[in-house]
Amino acid sequence: VSGITTENLDAWADALITAFEQKVVDAETGLLRLGERIAKRENAEAPDRTKRGISGRDTITVDAGRDGDISYVDVGPSPWAGIRLAHFEFGTRRQPPRPFLRRIVYEEAARWDPNQR
C-alpha cells in the first residue's frame, strides 16, 4: 500500500495489522527454535544413568503455546524424570551439583539472536 489517503486508510490499517501478526509469528518461531536448541543440548548432556538406574536422556521436551497475549516455550524434563534430574542439577547431601540445565539455558540465551530464524 503506498501513500496514505482517506480512500486507502482501511487498506493501510489491514497492512499494519498483517505486519504485526507476522512479527508475532516470527518471534514465536525464533523462541521455539531457541527452546529446541536448549532441549537438544540438554538431552545430549543429561546423565545417562542416575543413581537409581534411570536415564535422563531424551526426557527433555519442548512445549510452545500462548497464555493470553504472552507467547511461551516451556523446556523441561518429564515429571517422572524431573526429580532425578533435579538431584543431579542441584545436588544432594551426598553429591555436589552437576548443573547442565541452567548452564545450557544461560549459554543459549546469551547466544540467542532474536532476528535469526
Binding site: R93, P97, Y106
Partner: protein, 131 residues
Amino acid sequence: MSATTGGALKAWIEAGGLGIAAYRDSAPENATWPHVVVHEGLVKIPDQDGDTGDTGATHTIAETVQVSLWQQRADEFYTLPDALVRRLHGTRLPTAPTLVYAVLVASSARLPDEDPAILHDAITVTIHRVV
C-alpha cells in the same frame, strides 16, 4: 579481601546475623545444622563489551553460583530461606577479589533430598563482576 568469589559470598553470609556457617564446595561431616554450601563458577558468561581487540580493556562476566541451604526437617527454620535471599539479593560483596557490580538472585527452589530427614533450598545467584 577474599581469595575467591565463593569466599566473599561465604564471608557475606556469615556476617549477616543469620547464625549459620557457610562453606565452599562441601560441608564437613560434623557441620552444625542448618548450614550453607557455596558452589561457585557453575557458569561464566562473558558480557558482549566489544573490546575484544583491546588487551587492556576491562571485561565483565555473569557468573552463576549456587547457594545451598541445608536444614534438618525436624528443626526447620521456615523464614531462613527468604532471609538468605534478602541477604544475597542486591549486595556487591565488599570482600570479593574483583569488582562486583551486582549480585542478583535468579531463583530459589525448595527441593526434597534423597534423605527424607534433610531439606535443601537451592538458591541460584548471578554475580555480575569484573573478570
